[in-house]
Every structure is written in structure tokens, then in C-alpha cells.
């Protein structure tokens, strides 16, 4: 019979990746004599090996076996935990990951690094004298030695008295033996003490069996495998030829009746004979199980099936809420059966309850998508470890707020930008130990990753206690690259923001670690595409902090509904600075079509939404319309709209999925009345407006210059 286990491969893979992560993080924290940590690393490796063996992933089994052996030596204290070994183990973890990824992707992986690491492992193992590489753990398979002729085996089985106390039952052993062929069983009760002296938990009987079977001695011994230390077992072959299994003349007790413990206590007469036998009986039950086997199906084992693990409490609260929703619904529908005005109060309260239910339900569902940010942070200890080794810097990584939850989609997309920022902190932020000591700081630099909630968004801070950003160097570089004019006066923040400009890198030489084409501008762009923003603070000599602000989720947005002509648009609330009625004296017309609105110290370009989307608006003149001042990327613009409507949460529907990407629109939503409203893409709109303007003008920079002229 065969049991198809391939359905468990995905969960094995998932578990293995988790195990590898655990191994990695534990290895990074491993200290001499830390038994629990080394044990947990060993267990992880052990589980991976076990699982891989079951599924026949030999590459993984073989490799992991080496790792396991090394860990075992550490665990038993036979081997000192050296930095070299830890590095080797970290490398091995990488190799195991490669191997397991190859299984997931159903591909062959590059073996060079793996073979090399395996070699290193073997060498490391051979250094310690007591290495026993027992590779024959792979499936102690039944020997397929086909003996054509049946043999009549003679077996004497004299168990020790305490045999049953380890849960073994001779009767069952004989049943198992009966699967090999017809047997006869003779019990020898001569050691049975008088009934008054019998200890019911002891076994006083020994047996003599004959087995007519093609099985080898090995097969027979295997049946007694678990009791061989607790009995005398003599197996011999007295008769070679196929002899009829002679039924002993003694009383034969059918096996159903032969409950062992009851028999042993009941047998007071010393010469009573117990026996059980008959092979056919047992094999019939075996066959019945074969038919229950499921069909083997071609299994697609892509690991990232997009599943998330959800805590039971979250699901429970969801079920709870759905229950309440159902109650509210039934209340409302009952109310609607014969509705009259007297019931209007109950209707209102019912609707209120419905609102509350829906809101809570929505929150609970969102919580399911939320994962602790440790999922994104986990990769950094290793990264910092490797990088600091490579760069010869001493760095400690501190993780804070790892339990802060973040939407899964956001999490997946924030990984790379964060990696870049951390690399940056190691590469450019933290100085070498000598430099640090020279400036009176401890040799060991500290990089801190912190995450916390702030309002409706999550803030991730990457800070280092390094040298800080060299303001002058940044400025000079920006001038050199033509990003700013050398006479421009900028405050600190404006200078630091320059590092996010395309093609900007202040590292004196391009190192292997950061500055490989992917610059901070890409980081910023990625974060912005998630609807977030990034800021940097820095103090010379003290270090820098990068602050990433991200929306908690990409699925729902707080929006301000506005009306332009007959259309309703949604402006993300987070982008809105203020809304106002334009005062004519503050409106300035600069060259071309561009209008500027004087908002205290700022001059804000006005974008007429109607013109941008080519629709009819009620108010064509700025003076009549309302201005919604929005900010993106430090740039403020005033959107000209006809009316402000409600503020509400809207569920974002992708336009790209349902239609196609539209410039200036980030998505759509369905309003309460069933109509579709577009969600404005503020950065996109600003770019559009700037491009439109630059068709008559040259560049926005010129507008700004003109503006300065107007201002002065």
C-alpha cells in the first residue's frame, strides 16, 4: 500500500523556510555555552532533515546531515563554538535555502557553492576525532531478499518479566509475526509463580514459536526489534524443507480472546498453554486500509501560494462580528416587513448598529492582513552581520517595535527600500572602529530599526550613531551635479532631501555594498508608490535617522470627496493641507497659463482639475471656485474644485486591473449611491500639471524663478 504524502510538501517547505530563518537568527545570537540556542538550531536542522528524508529530497538530507552532525558536536560540548564555525553554519543555511528553493521552484540549483560548503563542513567535521558519519539512516528499508523457498523457523522467545511495562505486548508481536506466514505458538508457563505471588504487571511466560515463511532471519528479528534488549531470542532453522506447520495439541486460544494481561493473571494452573496464531486474520485488516488511499495527483508545489497564517483569536473575533451582523440584519429585515413611520426610530438605531458592525468587521478583516513587521526586520541581523564583517566595522543592530503590524502587501514592498537604507547606514553611516574611537565614541556602532504606529500610518525609523550627513559635501555634490544652483540658500532639511535626487551618491568611491546604481531616489520612489514618504534627520557626528511613513494598508483610504462639474473625485485625506475660498488679491498670473496662489509665505500653483481631465466645471474662474491645497513630495499645489463633499473611507479598486492605468488617477471606488468615483493621484497630477506648464514654459524651475521675481 502507498500513502501519498505529496500534499504535505508545501507545508514542509514553509516550515523549512521558517526553520532556516530561526537557524539564521539564532546563529547570529549564539554565544558560547548557550545550550538552549544551540539546541533550537539543532532541532530546526533536524526537522528539515527528517522532512526532506520523508519526501526523498536527498540533496537536502545529505547536506543537512553534515550540518546536523556539526551542530550535534556543539550541542554535546564536543566542539567549541568558534566564529569560523558560525560563519560556516550561516553559509550552510544559505545553501540549504538554495536547495529548498530549488525544490519549491522545481528546478535545479547551482551546486558549486553547495558542494564547496559541503566540503568545508566535512573538513570541519574531520577535525574532531569522534565523528561518526552514519549515512545509513536513510530508510531502513525492508530487505527485498527473495527467498523462493519457505523455511520453517523455530523461535524461542523468553521475555524479561518487566516487558509489558514498556508497553510491549507479546501477543501483538506474534500477530506481526503471523503476517510473515502461518505460525504456531506454544506457551511455557513453568515459571509462573503461585497465584498469591503473581504481580499482574509482570510477565512470567515464555514462548516457543514456529513460523513457516519465506522471510529472512533479519525480517523476523525486526519484528522483535523493540524488545531484543529485554528478552532472550533464539531463532533457528531446524527443518529446511517445506513441512506442514504442525498444530500443537495443546489448547489454542483464538487471538481475539487472548488479551494478554487478563490471561497472565488468570492462569493459575501452571501448565495451561496459551497460543495465538493464524496469519490470514491479520492480513485482511491490512488490505482494507489500502483501498482508502487517495489518488495521486500531479501536485503543483509553488511555495508562495499567497497564504497567510492567521491567529485563531483574529478569526474568532471575525466570527463573533459576523454573528452580530446577522443579528442586526435579521432585526432590520423584520422591521421592514410592515414598516410604518412609528418604527423610524428603531430603523435609525438599527442602521447605526449596522454601521458599527460593518466598521468593526472591516477592521477585523484588515487585521487579518496585518503581519508584525518582524517579517520585514528579520532579514536585517544577517545582513548587518555580513556587511559589517565585510567592511571591518563593528556594528550592533537593535530592533524595536517588531510587533507593530503592517499590511502584508505593504510589507512585501517595503523590504527592498528598507534593505537599501540599512545597507546605507552600514556603508555610509557608521564609521570604522578607529574613526569612532578617534572621535570619542565607542568602537561599536549602533544601527536601530524602530517601528511604531502614528495616527493612521506606520513609521519605520532607521537610525545610526555614525558620522551624520556631511551637509557641505551634499550641497557641493548637488551643485556639481547641477541639481541646485550654488547660490541657492537651503535649510538643513532641504539639503538632506537632496540625497534623494536621482544620480546622487556622496560616497567617495563606489563600494561593493551600496552605491551600485540603485540610489536613494529609487528608495524614495518605491516608498512614494506605496503612498508613503521618507524624511531624513541628521546631526554631524551624532548620526542620521531616516523616517519612513507608510499607510497601514493599501486597500482602504481616508478620502475627501470633491465635486467638479458633475463628477465626484476623491482626494486622499493625507495629502490635503487645507481647503479655502480663493481671495482674488492673492491670485497671481505668471507667464503662460500658470496661476499662482499666495498662501501665506508660499506661492502655490493652481491646477484646475476640470482642465486637466478635460471636463466641464461649474466655476471656470478661480475666484469662484474652491481651492484644495494638497502636498506631495514637499510640493504644494491648489486643486480647483467646485465643491467639497463628505469625508469618508473608501475601498480602493484598481483601475489597472479593471481597465487600464490612467494618468492622474490612482484608482477608483464605488460610492454609497452606487456611482463610481475616481481617486486622484496627487503626485501624478502634479507631474501632469508641470508637464503641461512646461510646454509653454521650459521647466518648473523657471516658474519658480519667475515666482521669485514676482515675490521680490
Amino acid at each position: 500500500m502507498s500513502v501519498d504524502l505529496s500534499q504535505f510538501i508545501p507545508s514542509f517547505l514553509e516550515e523549512s523556510f521558517e526553520g532556516l530563518e530561526l537557524m539564521e537568527s539564532s546563529l547570529l545570537n549564539l554565544e558560547q555555552g548557550d545550550d538552549e540556542t544551540i539546541n533550537s538550531i539543532f532541532r530546526a536542522a533536524h526537522s528539515i532533515k527528517g522532512g526532506a528524508g520523508t519526501f526523498g529530497f536527498e540533496h537536502v538530507t545529505e547536506f543537512t546531515h553534515l550540518v546536523e552532525t556539526l551542530l550535534d558536536e556543539m550541542r554535546d560540548g564536543r566542539r567549541e563554538i568558534t566564529q569560523n564555525d558560525v560563519e560556516l553554519l550561516l553559509k550552510s543555511v544559505d545553501c540549504m535555502r538554495l536547495l529548498i528553493e530549488a525544490i519549491r521552484d522545481e528546478q535545479e540549483c547551482d551546486r558549486t557553492e553547495i558542494d564547496e560548503t559541503a566540503k568545508l563542513l566535512t573538513i570541519a567535521l574531520n577535525q574532531t576525532a569522534s565523528v561518526d558519519v552514519d549515512n545509513n539512516e536513510t530508510g531502513s528499508g525492508t530487505t527485498n531478499q527473495q527467498v523462493t523457498q519457505n523455511t520453517l523457523w523455530d523461535i524461542t522467545f523468553i521475555p524479561e518479566h518487566h516487558l509489558v511495562q514498556t508497553g510491549n505486548d507479546p501477543l501483538l508481536l506474534f500477530n506481526a509475526l503471523a503476517d510473515l506466514g502461518p505460525i504456531t505458538v506454544e506457551a511455557n508457563c513453568k515459571d509462573l509463580p503461585p497465584i498469591t505471588d503473581i504481580d499482574p504487571t509482570e510477565l512470567y511466560i515464555s514462548w516457543h514459536l514456529t513460523l513457516d515463511s519465506a522471510a529472512s532471519e533479519e525480517d523476523i528479528r525486526e519484528v522483535f526489534e523493540w524488545v531484543e534488549d529485554e528478552c532472550q531470542l533464539i531463532i533457528s532453522q531446524p527443518v529446511k524443507d517445506q513441512q506442514d506447520s504442525q498444530q500443537p495439541e495443546e489448547i489454542v486460544i483464538d487471538k481475539q480472546g487472548g488479551d494478554f494481561t487478563s490471561v497472565s493473571s488468570a492462569s493459575d494452573s501452571s501448565e495451561q498453554v496459551l497460543a495465538s496464531a493464524v496469519a490470514d486474520n491479520a492480513s485482511s485488516t491490512l488490505e482494507s486500509t489500502t483501498t482508502t488511499k487517495s489518488q495521486k495527483q500531479p501536485s503543483k508545489t509553488k511555495a508562495d501560494v499567497g497564504s497567510i497564517r492567521v491567529g485563531v483569536d483574529k478569526v474568532d473575533s471575525l466570527i463573533n462580528l459576523v454573528g452580530e451582523l446577522v443579528i442586526t440584519q435579521s432585526m432590520l429585515s423584520e422591521l421592514g416587513n410592515d414598516f410604518d413611520l412609528s418604527k423610524i426610530e428603531r430603523l435609525t438605531s438599527g442602521l447605526e448598529q449596522l454601521l458599527q458592525n460593518t466598521k468593526e468587521l472591516q477592521e477585523s478583516v484588515m487585521r487579518i492582513r496585518m503581519l508584525p513587521i518582524s517579517f520585514a526586520f528579520n532579514r536585517f541581523p544577517r545582513l548587518v552581520h555580513d556587511l559589517s564583517n565585510k567592511m571591518n566595522k563593528e556594528i550592533e543592530l537593535v530592533l524595536k517595535g517588531e510587533q507593530t503590524e503592517l499590511d502584508k502587501t505593504v510589507m512585501e514592498q517595503i523590504g527592498d527600500p528598507l534593505t537599501h537604507l540599512v545597507r546605507n547606514a552600514v556603508d555610509h553611516g557608521i564609521e570604522t572602529a578607529e574613526q569612532r574611537l578617534a572621535s570619542g565614541k565607542p568602537a561599536k556602532g549602533v544601527i536601530t530599526l524602530d517601528a511604531y504606529h502614528q495616527g493612521g500610518s506606520i513609521v519605520i525609523e532607521i537610525s545610526d550613531d555614525g558620522s551624520g550627513i556631511n551637509r557641505q559635501a551634499v550641497f557641493d555634490k548637488a551643485v556639481e551635479k547641477g541639481v541646485v544652483d550654488k547660490n541657492t540658500v537651503l535649510n538643513d532639511n532641504q539639503v538632506f532631501d537632496l540625497i534623494f535626487e536621482p544620480g546622487f551618491s556622496t560616497a567617495k568611491e563606489i563600494s561593493d555594498i551600496s552605491g551600485r546604481g540603485v540610489g536613494m531616489d529609487v528608495v524614495k520612489k518605491n516608498i512614494q508608490s506605496l503612498g508613503g514618504r521618507i524624511q531624513v534627520e541628521s546631526e554631524p557626528g551624532k548620526g542620521s535617522t531616516f523616517k519612513v511613513n507608510l499607510p497601514l494598508t493599501l486597500a482602504i483610504l481616508d478620502g475627501q470627496l470633491v465635486r467638479v462639474g458633475s463628477e465626484t473625485y476623491i482626494i486622499p485625506l493625507i495629502t490635503i493641507v487645507e481647503s479655502l475660498q480663493a481671495k482674488p488679491e492673492h491670485i497671481n498670473r505668471v507667464s503662460g497659463d500658470m496661476l499662482l496662489y499666495r498662501l501665506r509665505e508660499d506661492n502655490v500653483p493652481i491646477i484646475p482639475v476640470c482642465k486637466l481631465f478635460n471636463i466641464d466645471a461649474e466655476h471656470q474662474r478661480v475666484e469662484d471656485a474652491l481651492l484644495v491645497v494638497v502636498e506631495s513630495d514637499g510640493q504644494k499645489v491648489g486643486l480647483m474644485v467646485d465643491d467639497l463633499l463628505a469625508q469618508q473611507q473608501v475601498v480602493i479598486k484598481s483601475l489597472q486591473d479593471n481597465y487600464q492605468q490612467v494618468e492622474g488617477i490612482s484608482g477608483a471606488t464605488i460610492l454609497g449611491d452606487g456611482s463610481v468615483a475616481m481617486i486622484l493621484d496627487i503626485p501624478g497630477m502634479i507631474t501632469m500639471a508641470m508637464n503641461n506648464a512646461s510646454q509653454s514654459q521650459q521647466k518648473y524651475g523657471d516658474i519658480a524663478k519667475n515666482l521669485e521675481g514676482v515675490m521680490s
Binding site: 522532512g51 520523508t54 508497553g167 486500509t289 482508502t292
Partner: protein, 120 residues
């Protein structure tokens, strides 16, 4: 119905053992480590316990010793599921009262065949 307690810290191994046993018509209860296994065992009776050796919280050997102290588990077969097929580990298991051992990599057919030596 024959009821089996499966103790293993690895989800997938536990699932597979359980699945294999269920497909053969046994009833299974799972526990993720020795401590959970012991508390489950205290409030239930089982016809067989299959346990991993290396587990957090409480390892399989300790679990086995603890189970043997319970009246209900004095004669219950306890099988250790392990890759450590060295004699050392077997002796330790035996000393703690284990009935036998199953060697990983775990093979479903073998599992079903061998547990018949200890349960009916």
C-alpha cells in the same frame, strides 16, 4: 476506535504522521511538544503515543518518563519517532520506558506496519 497521540514540534511531520494514521482508520490527537503532549495525556486516554525526541519545552524522552508515571499510561505503548537511531538514544528511550522507536525518515507504509506490533 484506536486513539493515538502524536507529539512532534514539526508541523509537517505531525501532519503526515497524523494523516497516515487517519488514512488507516485510527483516531489521532496532536501535540506540538512534550509539555503539551503530557497535559493532553493527563485528560485523555490513548492506545498509543508516538513522539519525537527533539522538541522544545519537553523532549520526548522526558515525556515518556512522565507518561509512565501516570496510571493510565503504565502499559500504553510509546514509540519514539527519531532520526537518532544510535544505540545510545535507544537505550535512553528504553530506560525512560519507551516501547520502541520509529526511525525517520518517516515512511508511511512502514509506520503502519510497525505500529501493529504494539496496538491491535
Amino acid at each position: 476506535m484506536t486513539k493515538i497521540l502524536v507529539v512532534d514540534d514539526s508541523n509537517s511531520i505531525r501532519d503526515m504522521v497524523s494523516f497516515t494514521l487517519k488514512s488507516a482508520g485510527y483516531e489521532t490527537v496532536e501535540a506540538k511538544d512534550g509539555a503539551e503532549g503530557l497535559s493532553t495525556a493527563r485528560s485523555n486516554s490513548f492506545d498509543l503515543v508516538i513522539s519525537d525526541v527533539n522538541m522544545p519545552n519537553m523532549d520526548g524522552i522526558t515525556l515518556c518518563g512522565e507518561l509512565r508515571k501516570l496510571d493510565d499510561f503504565k502499559f500504553t505503548p510509546i514509540l519514539m519517532l527519531t532520526t537518532e537511531s544510535s544505540g545510545d538514544m535507544k537505550l535512553k528511550g528504553k530506560a525512560a520506558g519507551a516501547t520502541g522507536w520509529l526511525v525517520k525518515p518517516f515512511n508511511p507504509e512502514k509506520l503502519l506496519a510497525t505500529i501493529k506490533r504494539v496496538i491491535r
